[in-house]
């Protein structure tokens, strides 16, 4: 399976990379770990004329932590390095869980934090091999005007299936984007457009440079649970991340609560209802209520291989309840 021909550039600064990407517009595509991108090129799903390699851009591979500023992760840090970092292991075990649930060991070593966040949406029609796809009309994502998931729909219903996004959303992460207009810092959820066809809200010339995670407060616990068929390689068919912080004292009052999901919509979901738990005691009834809210918000479609849509939907409440209990347990201890 040969890669198509393309030009290759390896700029040596972030500014250079952004200018190059801006000047070439839609023709150019950045390459970080390359594990998803090269597959899309081999499968003839993307057709860039130029790849802009971010491997030579300095300062994108740093992991820094301070109690004041929290964690700062360069976009080119590999998932394996993130998971092996002593500070991350100690203070953000949820990121270790999420990073080590991606693909395989090799893909974790090659894939980057930035690339994982900015991954394209998945769909069992769009992601078929070029040969198998020939039997189908091109879908919205391939420039056609049909969706094979919802045949009457005028939009693309591919699913966002990143593993790091829900974990980072639950932790309240923000991102820095570099671009022609300078650097811009935004809440992580604004990176996701909600458009299955073009899921990442970066303009040509804009690059994700850094991810910031607030300092881990005391008495907090965070957990990522991933539903999939095999314990390796698979993308999530449902992913649930929960982050809880408890008030001081024994009464178990919740100070902050966040819940995020993946693989059940066109973008990762940060569930607003979780915020209602703040200041309240976390009872069984409230855990069930949160699980119900997540169930109502989740919208799995028949766009991923593996388990049925019905099963994935029925697992939402189960996974939310499990994740909340585990997060609570780790916040207490």
């Amino acid at each position: 399976m040969k890669l198509p021909k393309f030009e290759y550039a390896a700029p040596e600064s972030l500014g250079q990379a952004c200018r190059l990407l801006e000047s070439r517009g839609e023709e150019a595509h950045p390459i970080a770990g390359g594990t998803d991108l090269l597959m899309a090129l081999k499968n003839r799903q993307k057709f860039p004329k130029m790849l802009v390699d971010l491997g030579a851009v300095p300062n994108l591979s740093r992991i820094e932590y301070s109690d004041a500023d929290g964690l700062r992760i360069g976009a080119m840090v590999s998932l394996r390095r993130l998971a092996a970092n002593p500070i991350v292991r100690e203070k953000y075990p949820i990121l270790v869980q999420a990073a080590l649930s991606v693909g395989t060991v090799q893909l974790q070593a090659m894939g980057t934090v930035g690339g994982n966040l900015c991954q394209d949406t998945c769909c069992m029609y769009f992601n078929r091999s070029a040969m198998v796809r020939q039997s189908l009309e091109p879908c919205h994502k391939l420039g056609g005007c049909i969706c094979h998931v919802v045949s009457s729909s005028e939009e693309c219903w591919a699913a966002y299936t990143g593993d790091l996004a829900p974990a980072l959303l639950a932790l309240g992460a923000s991102v820095s984007m570099a671009g022609p207009g300078g650097e811009q810092r935004l809440p992580l959820q604004e990176l996701f457009s909600g458009d299955g066809k073009r899921p990442i809200a970066l303009r040509p010339g804009q690059l994700l440079a850094e991810i910031q995670v607030p300092a881990a407060p005391p008495r907090s616990g965070a957990v990522y649970l991933k539903l999939r068929q095999r314990e390796t390689l698979d993308y999530p068919l449902l992913g649930v991340a929960v982050h809880l912080t408890l008030e001081r004292g024994e009464n178990g009052h919740c100070k902050t609560a966040a819940l995020a999901m993946t693989a059940v919509d066109k973008a990762p979901i940060l569930l607003q209802e979780a915020g209602k738990l703040a200041g309240r005691k976390l009872t069984e009834a409230q855990i069930r209520e949160l699980a119900r809210a997540a169930y109502k918000r989740a919208h799995p479609m028949k766009n991923l291989y593996g388990l049925t849509t019905k099963y994935r939907l029925s697992m939402v409440e189960v996974y939310v309840e499990m994740a909340v209990r585990q997060a609570l347990e780790s916040a207490i201890h």
């Binding site: 290759y8 060991v105 090799q106 893909l107 090659m110 314990e231």
Partner: protein, 168 residues
Amino acid sequence: MDKTVRININRESYELELEPNQTLLDLLREQLGMTGTKKGCEIGACGACTVIIDGEPALSCMTLALRCRGKEVITIEGMAENGRLHPLQEMAIEHGAVQCGYCTPGWLLSAKVLLDNNPSPTLDEVRSAISGNICRCTGYQKIEESILAAAGRSLPAPAPEGESSPRV
């Protein structure tokens, strides 16, 4: 851009003329004749093409050869040093951890990365380290045994009562 790239492969420096769309797998197999690295799925799923780049496991089918500029690549051809097989290779032979042999170079290199970082792994750690290497003969148990045996051998103190290979 200068297309001449220097890459260290198996402790030897190569100066190569590369095309942007050439994968490391193609470079190794087609240009350098190192066919020990296997071409499996070619979409990054099976692990047959695993090599080590700067100490980390990598899929050569998903790596642009140009991106290996200045890096150190170890393939299965470089696993034996000074004419001596790596303990992992010796144990693979001793435990019969090879059936059709197609996945063997890949998992050996994945296991080498594991042992380089963690000389005495648990069975779970072994399983996790080779979870990106698919064996369709499904001979996983002997693979696991042979990796554990190789780890046992590299422990500083000999095992008690002459046991040289720990049982699973």
